[in-house]
Amino acid sequence: MKVKMLSRNPDHYVRETKLDLHRVPRNYDPTLHPFEVPREYIRALNATKLERVFAKPFLASLDGHRDGVNCLAKNPKSLATVLSGACDGEVKIWNLTKRKCIRTIQAHEGFVRGICTRFCGTSFFTVGDDKTVKQWKMDGPGCGEEEEPLHTILGKTVYTGIDHHWREAVFATCGQQVDIWDEQRTNPICSMTWGFDSISSVKFNPIETFLLGSCASDRNIVLYDMRQATPLKKVILDMRTNTICWNPMEAFIFTAANEDYNLYTFDMRALDTPVMVHMDHVSAVLDVDYSPTGREFVSASFDKSIRIFPVDKSRSREVYHTKRMQHVICVKWTADSKYIMSGSDEMNIRLWKANASEKLGVLTSREKAATDYNQKLKEKFQHHPHIKRISRHRHLPKSIYSQIQEQRIMKEARRRKELNRIKHSKPGSVQMVSEKKKHIVAVVK
């Protein structure tokens, strides 16, 4: 007879002294871990609930401007520095860590229309209603010195926007036409126009740095190549586009913030159909900015809210609003991808977390592991109705909520009418037009 009994030495399973950690032997055999899926589901449900509990995105409000904030700019070399231009011509430089204004310049008479920093972070440019382009040093003036711009260019027309090249000493302004300037000269290197309307914004492509995009009030988006004298192509939409923003990771993708409450993500190689139509806002979208990862962007709207959209989704994942925030004019996503800044009509700049329930500060490794695990679980069970409902639930101000309902009814009525038209006309004579193609009027090359 050969016999072996299971006989464990307790010393191998309990800690020796009270100072030790408890011993936890593991066995991953599935029969010892029954109900794996239901338990994970419950964990995911709890994690989703906790996420909503801890969703406190608002961090700080930077006040000090005496008029509405019209434009924002990030400093490419310093995460803590932010520049803002107001409607009374004042430019302020903020320190985000201290949440204080560190410098104030009376830059223009009338609006500051545009502001941008040089790629090296040593100086910045502003354009204003007084038909000037000014270059300023990032550091303040020394003791006894006057606050004066480095250079001032007097133009013939009002400039409405400015953007700096990402690598070279070249910047572009827009107004009646798109001008490309060398920093050393007082005249533009070249001016490009297509049509006769005022252009509201111009943006350099961060990857293919010779490319520019602009949007004008005659409802079109025009793309330029700096090396050519003429524009590349343009797409005409139903309504005016306010701004565009290039994807910092995919050179050929850009997103346009439109007056018709939607945002359109275009592939610049095929402008006739947008890659995605992002709809959730209930009023004109005024500004858009990509996260540095290129996976998400934030949009500011006239409906007093900002929304975060994933690039490949048509609905927003997040909406931020406060009682006091008025029409949001400008929005920026910080370079560390963690925060969002919004400048609004009622003279404040607000700082938000990009991920509403994220814990700020240094995490211990166990905290990190737990959040990662919960994140994965939420991802795994995101389509379950109960979890989906909780994670999608947002409290909205009454005005936005009722507008959403109203617009839903309107949309439904339009769709019904279209269906009826198809039904009662000769088969094939009226076609169903997809949402993506509906808003594109023409593409011109």
């Binding site: 299971l6 006989s7 011993r23 029969t31 029954p34 794996e36 169903m432």
Partner: protein, 604 residues
């Protein structure tokens, strides 16, 4: 292993110089290996050895990395590798540790045979990624089995010897003192036949006698926690989620005691309870009563979740399926019905025996169910969908009590005898031919349970309690986060909080516990259909083929039509082929039995 050829040997001078060059950056450890290796065997000259070593290594590495992606990492972790190769010594265990495919399959969770209908390319690629990750994790989990500390027990007879003939006394004599102490008898003739229950960690034992004797003890150290007499008949006894709470089914009502023997609750809504089962992950106490009701009591909030009328008279046979928390009830008409609190009707009804069912047991994998009936038969059923008997055996007396161990041993109590059957391997069902062990007790068996994580079978009988040694019954390696027999009070408290946080709701109990992670194809199709109806067209439908205009002259209208027609014809042909493939099955089903007659052609 390096041996430097002496300058005098007949090697071409060029090579000699090369070797002299190589010899320069020698380190002490290389010299050491030279000494020992050369001493062991004066091998072939240096250069040949090198080439032989290096060549087979390369394809090997490619091979392993292709098979298991993660194999790269442990390789990279072995940093002293390159130094050793300088010395010429070879890693005897190159590459990642080998993994048994069978073991990997045990950890595999995705069923690749199921295909999703009309999955989009994006979804399909995402699924492919998930599958690859799944494979990786299962390989890792399988590899981690190397770290398991304990080996399962066993009992083998010498050639020809029948293990069933081996008596408990022999086993006790043969094993070590600690194990021998696990065999004991409690002589409690006074308070009649006993029911018993081990706690989930296997550390504590509670028993209750028919005449009201209730006791709980730490049976390993033999420390008594409490001993009371409830002055009422005790039908069944059960630990709740931890050893601190005890549920006792008494003559009238269900009572809950703590480990000091203090009565905490008297649940009057559960009356005349005959059997108790506790579902640890749902915190549900299932009670079967004389009145024919199956009642689920949520012990975390104290609410009755469901009270189901089984409509089959007195319920006295109940067990739980530990795999999916479905309750199995045995009835006097020979059926076994499977219940979940979410349904008013039984999920399944299986006709198992002629005459009443006496006992039911389900193994820990949820694959097999053993039943015994008044017809003296012991049957083993397959629970994976078919519910068919796998094997049957007629016992002279018929088994009154059945229990499965963690490793799949089946114990049956017949009168005052306990028989235990074992399978060939761990996952296989017990073969009912030869018993593995038998034991005769001093009284009639009234309760049976294998102790979790110990090779012990607890038997409650009319003469008291007997703790039998059954080598190879229990899972040798416990998981410390799930149920730890050696846990401290603090650990238990922490575990309790975590377990309560992830309490599974009672509605999720169903036959397949993994159903929650699978795609609900039926409602998906339904939603698609509704969407198409609402929109007035199917947005996922394939657009009709539109030929692309070709270059220069080849794009005439005729050729366009021709191309279009070609594609249409191909599609039509595919459709016809599919319908043809389906037809013969129907035809085969029709003619059965009689010879074909000439008049068959007129049959419609």
């Amino acid at each position: 292993m390096e041996t430097v050829p002496k300058p005098g040997s007949n090697v071409p001078p060029k090579k000699d110089r090369l070797q002299a060059k190589k010899k320069k950056p020698r380190r002490y450890w290389e010299q050491e290996t030279t000494g020992t290796a050369a001493g062991a065997s004066p091998g072939p000259p240096h250069k040949r050895k090198r080439s032989r070593e290096l060549r087979p290594q390369k394809p090997k590495r490619n091979d392993t990395s292709k098979k298991f992606r993660i194999s790269k990492k442990p390789r990279e972790l072995k940093s002293p590798g390159p130094q050793r190769t300088f010395s010429g010594a070879q890693d005897p265990f190159a590459g990642p540790a080998p993994v048994n495919v069978e073991v990997v399959r045990k950890y595999c969770r995705i069923d690749k045979s199921k295909e999703l209908p009309h999955a989009k390319t994006k979804t399909r690629s995402r699924l492919a990624v998930a599958e690859a990750q799944e494979e990786e994790t299962s390989v890792r989990a399988a590899r981690s089995e190397l770290l398991l500390a304990e080996e399962p027990g066993f009992l083998e007879g010498e050639d020809g010897e029948d293990t069933a003939k081996i008596r408990q006394a022999d086993i006790v004599e043969a094993v070590d003192i600690a194990s021998a102490a696990k065999h004991f008898d409690l002589n409690l003739r006074q308070f009649g036949p006993y029911r018993l229950n081990y706690s989930r960690t296997g550390r504590h034992l509670a028993f209750g006698g028919r005449r009201g004797h209730v006791a709980a003890l730490d049976w390993v150290t033999k420390k008594l926690m409490c001993e009371i007499n409830v002055m009422e008949a005790v039908r069944d006894i059960r630990f709740l989620h931890s050893e601190a709470l005890l549920a006792v089914a008494q003559n009238r009502w269900l009572h809950i005691y703590d480990n000091q023997g203090i009565e905490l609750h008297c649940v009057r809504r559960c009356d005349r309870v005959t059997r108790l089962e506790f579902l640890p992950f749902h915190f549900l106490l299932a009670t079967a009563s004389e009145t024919g009701f199956l009642t689920y009591l949520d012990v975390s909030v104290g609410k009755i979740v469901a009270a189901l009328n089984a409509r089959a008279g007195r319920l006295s046979v109940m067990t739980q399926n530990p795999y999916n928390a479905v309750i199995h009830l045995g009835h006097s008409n020979g059926t076994v019905s499977l219940w979940s609190p979410a349904m008013k009707e039984p999920l399944v009804k299986i006709l198992c025996h002629r005459g009443g069912v006496r006992a039911v047991a389900v193994d820990s994998t949820g694959m097999h169910m053993a039943t015994s009936g008044l017809d003296h038969q012991l049957k083993l059923f397959d629970l994976r969908g078919t519910f068919q008997p796998l094997s049957t055996r007629t016992l002279p007396q018929g088994a009154g009590h059945l229990a499965f161990s963690q490793r799949g041993l089946l114990a049956a109590g017949m009168g005052d005898v306990v028989n235990i059957w074992a399978g060939q391997r761990k996952a296989s069902p017990p073969s009912l031919e030869q018993p593995y062990l038998t034991h005769r007790l001093s009284g009639h068996v009234h309760g049976l349970q294998f102790c979790p994580y110990e090779d012990v079978l607890g038997v409650g009988h009319s003469g008291g309690i007997t703790s039998m040694l059954v080598p190879g019954a229990a899972e040798p390696n416990f998981d410390g986060l799930e149920s730890n027999p050696y846990r401290s009070r603090k650990q238990r408290q922490e575990w309790e909080v975590k377990a309560l946080l992830e309490k599974v709701p009672a509605e999720l109990i169903c036959l397949d516990p993994r159903a929650l992670a699978e795609v609900d194809v039926i409602s998906l199709e339904q939603a698609k259909k509704e969407r198409a109806e609402r929109l007035g067209y199917d947005p996922d439908a394939r657009a009709p083929f539109q030929p692309k205009p070709k270059q220069k002259g080849r794009s005439s209208t005729a050729s366009l039509v021709k191309r279009k027609r070609k594609v249409m014809d191909q599609e039509h042909r595919d459709k016809v082929r599919q319908s043809l493939e389906q037809q013969p099955q129907k035809q085969e089903a029709k003619p059965t039995g009689a010879r074909p007659s000439a008049l068959d052609r007129f049959v419609r």
